[in-house]
Symmetry: C2
Amino acid sequence: MSKLLSRRDLSFLLYDWLQVERLITRPRYAQHDRTTFDAVLETAEKIATDLFAPHNRMSDLNEPHFDGTRVTLIPDVKRALDAFNAAGLVAAGQDEAHGGMQLPAVIDKALMAYFMSANCATAAYPFLTIGNANLLLAHGSEDQILKFVRPMLEGRFFGTMCLSEPQAGSSLSDITTRAEPQADGTYRLYGTKMWISAGEHELSENIIHLVLARTPNAPLGVKGISLFIVPKFLVNTDGSLGERNDVVLAGLNHKMGYRGTTNCLLSFGEGVHQPDGHGGAVGYLIGEQHRGLGYMFHMMNEARIGVGLGATMLGYTGYLHALDYALQRPQGRHPQNKDPASPQIPIIEHADVRRMLLAQKSYVEGALALNLYCAMLVDEERTAPTPELRQDATDLLDILTPIAKGWPSQWCLEANSLAIQVLGGYGYTRDFPVEQFYRDNRLNAIHEGTHGIQALDLLGRKVVLNDSRAYLLLVDRIRASVQAARQTDQADLHEYASLLEGMLARLSATTKALWSAGNLNVTLANASTYLEAFGHVVIAWIWLSQATVIADQQHGTSSAEAKAAPDFASGKLYACRYFFRVELPKVRVMLDLLTSLDTTALDMRAQWF
Amino acid sequence: MSKLLSRRDLSFLLYDWLQVERLITRPRYAQHDRTTFDAVLETAEKIATDLFAPHNRMSDLNEPHFDGTRVTLIPDVKRALDAFNAAGLVAAGQDEAHGGMQLPAVIDKALMAYFMSANCATAAYPFLTIGNANLLLAHGSEDQILKFVRPMLEGRFFGTMCLSEPQAGSSLSDITTRAEPQADGTYRLYGTKMWISAGEHELSENIIHLVLARTPNAPLGVKGISLFIVPKFLVNTDGSLGERNDVVLAGLNHKMGYRGTTNCLLSFGEGVHQPDGHGGAVGYLIGEQHRGLGYMFHMMNEARIGVGLGATMLGYTGYLHALDYALQRPQGRHPQNKDPASPQIPIIEHADVRRMLLAQKSYVEGALALNLYCAMLVDEERTAPTPELRQDATDLLDILTPIAKGWPSQWCLEANSLAIQVLGGYGYTRDFPVEQFYRDNRLNAIHEGTHGIQALDLLGRKVVLNDSRAYLLLVDRIRASVQAARQTDQADLHEYASLLEGMLARLSATTKALWSAGNLNVTLANASTYLEAFGHVVIAWIWLSQATVIADQQHGTSSAEAKAAPDFASGKLYACRYFFRVELPKVRVMLDLLTSLDTTALDMRAQWF
């Protein structure tokens, strides 16, 4: 059994639940079929298993080292990424015209899931490169695409995103990096960027930084931010590398986890490589001035869903490790068995261990399903037959992004904590990988917009935007799933359908109450709780929907293959049951708090702490 | 401001809330007064600040190293412990007859809190030594006390507890270490012990292991376990050290946190130091054969409360670090402020940051209060004027032990996670200590009985023992606090009193429903949820009781000093309000699940995962 990802679960989610084979009828994906999808997933699983997973611990124990000039990583990282690139996986989702495989986004994400599970730190390099390339494909000029994107898709260049600065993490409005226009149409950048993942290394020929900066006399705040390409090495017209650009590593951050990904403080325009003193990092404006943050959100939104998938996969692999351990480790006896001469039982025989495994299963399989659903929305956005359907997909993706990022960051981390607990003392040692997953996963509620930022994005913006169009659309989708569950022959699912319907109505009433507060501070005071309640409702929907497909399969309307796996079906139904009985009820308490417009945290004063 | 522990809070808890000065009227503590209490607390704070805290990170980065023969620790550990011993703190709570200061247990725990906050890994050495000494003082012979306890109380010997074995962690029934009686009345031990904290080092002249083992023909299971003293070096009649005993370090465990405490696999009786091949670790039976586990629980119960205090203090120091950061770090603006030219505000001005700080405050101050309350029960058990009152204290301590251990292990870890979140990216780096606190604290739900074991102890044993005597006593205490809150002039507290009263009634009904299930497996299937619900009720009680004292002080019945600190009072009342509005309502959902006798985890089958 793979401990990266259950292939059986993935197949169920892709083919039975999301029915991705529908996509083959669309012109963009017409050259594909389930065989090509499965082939690329198998390739991904093999490379992830053979080359990414084996150095996951080693790169944690030997984090990147900066001697003041060069960064050194263990060689296994480059070996793994070379194989990833040789298999063409960096361009798996790209147009054939750009040398890509033109696979659906949902397949692309599924294959990335294997790498995030096997080694999230090494997977971060291509993950950022793909996001960078996608931004440039959407907003860059033809020349920029040719010069910078093509080599990225070939795996020769890697990419980054440079937003934060030491004095401006969550508050992008306050960035101060300057971009000064030059006579030749290029810019020179000066400033310092913080928390730049993959900001320096020698894994690729070049590094393409996407940098937020201000042009002279730009308006203050986010409306004065522009976006620039700043390559580590300048690129000549013929594509060959030119001189070293004026961007240097000022220091590496030493983290609790995710250690294999270099995380950098980068200095732009310090003149380090310009002995004549004429510093300034050469940069190229993307699109129009002052619209940089909007472009960056192209990459940021993708990165947020990617972070959610990464959090999910850390939880997922932790769960599979805990399950494996629980099936094998003998310890203790059933409560009613007082005979010390009887053999010890595998710990999975203890109800409390099964509870911890069920919780993990409900978190990680629920989160993976949501993340793949979001990826499928990218495909719908791109290829759905009508503009209306494409707009629907955009809106749904928009409102689900903070959930797809925030929920796994919280609950799949909890899954990792439970995995440690299942392994007990062993789980707390570095002899087993679960403690690393836990450390790695703790980052995900912080980067690409903290939990609190996601909460403000959801409650302060997404649910009310365009007269709540996205919210109402999501409600329709959830209601459709409720109806579908009611049409199964399973009384359990009817019960869950009613629970979900009731909770959804309460969520809507709460949203309305929050926005009727008449005071923005009051509306947003418990935004994090809103995000968490909303997330649980969404995952309950995802579980009900999965269970409905299982029920329909069991009822006989589906393939023999599906019916041949009653254990799998029971597992899905029990995880759904766990979520509805143990998890969803927690939402009630959160909505009560929100509806009361509680101002405890808002009213608390700094000097009272 | 100390970042170890708020002295203001500690003074409030000791003198205003617990009124420890009452103890001075008891003969055992008659030589003390508030001045001596404060003096020893100041000494503790000073040594903890000057010698323990400074090497906390260093000992994390340079964990103990075993070269196959010797264990090496950074020298700072010994320097700190020498100062601790020189100040006589290891015997702070011991009888004057044994060279101790004869301080109340509640003061002893308060001073230990400083060390656990400053450096939990270094503090573990004396913490285990004290527990070991206390066990021997209660159950050892005079000769054993003279030989082994005296040097421990002088800080010359350190102690351990050796329960687990590689094949028997939570299941002590399955230990196999043998103890063979010798003609001279001693024993020879053979076996392997796992997870032994402080099991090997060169910090002290000798290490006194307390070892669970089986004598020949002992009954199977826990009723056949005896307890032995196994010193690292034999001790001659005159107290001088004799030959090296046959107990050796087989390997160190490499942990996610708590790295400064050696954690050992120990081999007994392998003949390593006996070149003639006549191996066997010399051991001395404590008390009677087959009663070893009962004796060990003397130390274990103390260790469990100690673990709870350790978890609390990691959360507490993390909270103080997060608070300090939040007061200083500028980032962003209020939601309604759209002017990017206005200065950034300290992040404590954001409601979500205050929410995270309030949550931490409510967890860590609540947990510290509970732990000190438990320590006060030890004093009552020892010195209360009547046998009935002493028995009450024993019973209350008995039922509160799984809470005092389990609740901080869960919620003060959550506090550490929130502290990381407050610091954002910085919190995830090793430049700040909060990530270490988070890693260190993750151990506490595992050692000295896992969370699941605490849950079984509470629901399966403590709440029903002796016709629920302890449970009913606790209910009486909580009801008394409810009445006291109703007699304040604060409407808020009246409201919380009713909430707590209602929840307590529901907890009792749930306990009854669980024990009426007629099937032990069903009763215990969700024991962990029961532990968590029970814990939240207890902490709500602790908060209501603190708030009542504050309210009484504000009403004018108390000292001018207390009334002079309105900020402190507001902080306490808001933390109480936070707990009642945000935390206590979570119990409803847990009790619903328990009352429904949910069997989802129980019914789940291994092959369905």
